[in-house]
């Protein structure tokens, strides 16, 4: 497990295990234990479809920076649980600065294509399904003027990952071209929604994608960190009565 996977897992575990106890009022509170707080959850999700066109950017890249676009369609079973499907396709895979090869007096040059055929990380598309848990709903005051409502969630899912396979050095010398491949993977992540209107929210996610690369003989499990931003549109299904 990579360090960022461990950090992500640790953060998620801390969020769940150290779930906050009931906040206590201070001794000076005349209403202590007498007036229960009314936590108005203005933006409700239960029973709604959530459609999120999104853009993804890879982080912590070794050889290729990836730019992807796609979206997610989720159904909220309750205010806290949702299930959904997601899919993204690659707009571009560009070689990172780490692939520049520097030689003594010749300066640094970008890697040749045949060299890039030998390293993993060239993603083409990802499609999957996930379950999300959103236990936290909050609001904050922005510049003492605007109340901003948001929620935080953790999610996990299974994916089918399409990528450009890796070639061995001998195959590259023989003139082979890398083929497309796909494998089963999964992801784990943290998300936040910042509600902009009744049916629109800014969706921000960080997730770690795991998948296997067939062309690598050893250490073929790859982990790729992604940041995602999108606009979530909520569509009610049926009628729900408010309390």
């Amino acid at each position: 497990m990579t360090s960022r996977s461990a950090a992500l897992l640790l953060g998620t575990t801390a969020l769940l295990v150290l779930a906050p106890a009931l906040a206590r009022a201070s001794e000076a509170d005349a209403f202590e234990n007498k007036v229960k707080p009314v936590s108005g959850q203005v933006y409700e999700k239960a029973g709604k479809l959530e459609l999120t066109p999104a853009f993804q950017l890879s982080m912590n890249d070794a050889f290729f920076s990836k730019y992807l676009a796609g979206g997610k369609l989720a159904y909220h079973l309750s205010e806290y649980f949702s299930v959904g499907v997601n899919g993204v396709f690659a707009l571009a895979n560009s070689a990172t600065g780490s692939t520049n090869v520097c030689q003594g007096n010749a300066g640094c040059q970008p890697a040749q294509q045949v060299q890039l055929y030998q390293v993993p990380g060239y993603l083409k598309w990802v499609a999957g399904a996930e379950v999300a848990f959103s236990p936290i709903y909050g609001k904050l005051n922005l510049f003492a003027e605007k109340a901003v409502h948001f929620d935080l969630s953790v999610f996990a899912g299974a994916d089918l990952v399409g990528y450009r396979d890796v070639l061995a050095a001998s195959a590259v010398l023989g003139g082979s071209q890398p083929s497309d491949a796909s494998s089963i993977g999964g992801h784990l992540g943290l998300g936040a929604r910042i509600f902009l209107a009744r049916s629109v929210a800014l969706s921000l996610e960080v997730k770690d994608l795991f998948y296997k690369v067939q062309g690598l003989s050893t250490a073929n499990l790859q982990a790729q960190l992604f940041a995602q931003a999108g606009l979530a549109f909520f569509v009610p299904l049926g009628s729900r009565s408010s309390p």
């Binding site: 640790l10 906040a23 005349a30 108005g40 796609g70 571009a92 780490s98």
Partner: protein, 273 residues
Amino acid sequence: MDLSRHKRTFIAFFLSLLPLVARGQAQEEPGIDLSAPRRAETPLPPPPAGTKPVARDASGQDLGPVAPGENDVALADRVKAVQRKGFIKRGRLELGLSLPGSINDAFYEKVGVGGKLAYHFGESFALAARGAYYAQIRSSHVREGNQAFESQLVNSQLLGQAMLDGIWSPVYGKIAWLGSRIVTFDMYLLAGLGGVWSATSIAPRGEGPHIAADLGTGLRFYPANWLALEGGVIATFYPDQAVTSVPSTMQKAIMAQVGVSIFFPTSFRYVYP
């Protein structure tokens, strides 16, 4: 750009669902919105001159005088109240432990343990002495890169850091855990100067610490009067020349971290302004 048939499938699917969004915009707004005051249906009679507002419980027993604002809240959220903070930091010491991990080095990943001692001069500003020790994990990408590019990867091996940071907490709010438990939180920005020790700081090169600057942000939750849980991202910048044959470069170590802090004194008393 690499377009495939999957791209066209996704686009067609999402475009076909977009008209449903209009239905969501027209729905009624349930719940309580505190962002705008509601108009009272009948005006309340003014209290007799010279009387102080008094809180009463369900049996009508006096609970004593209340501060301005609280009375209004108890009367049914008719006005927008300025709620007092649920956690006071001013004048308290904070002792913290953190677990950082790098998120910008796929070749040599760093994990560590850190500590922090901070004093809060006010509710929104603190000064912190912060330090961390790191271990480096060599990933499989090093071998893959070496083989593909027939070269060696040069890196600055980060060993530890000691920083003096200013912490500004301009955003304050509260969250509900599973719709019931209320917890306060704040969002902070952090910046400071200090030193970083890397592999070149010790023998054989013995260059000593490199001057460094850091910049970060994060969230802190306050589940108890003495406890804070936090998560954030901090970037540390320092100059280092990992190998003498290559130029010195500005190193960027971006760490995501989770942490826990204990505040001293462990309790506080709210003081009205």
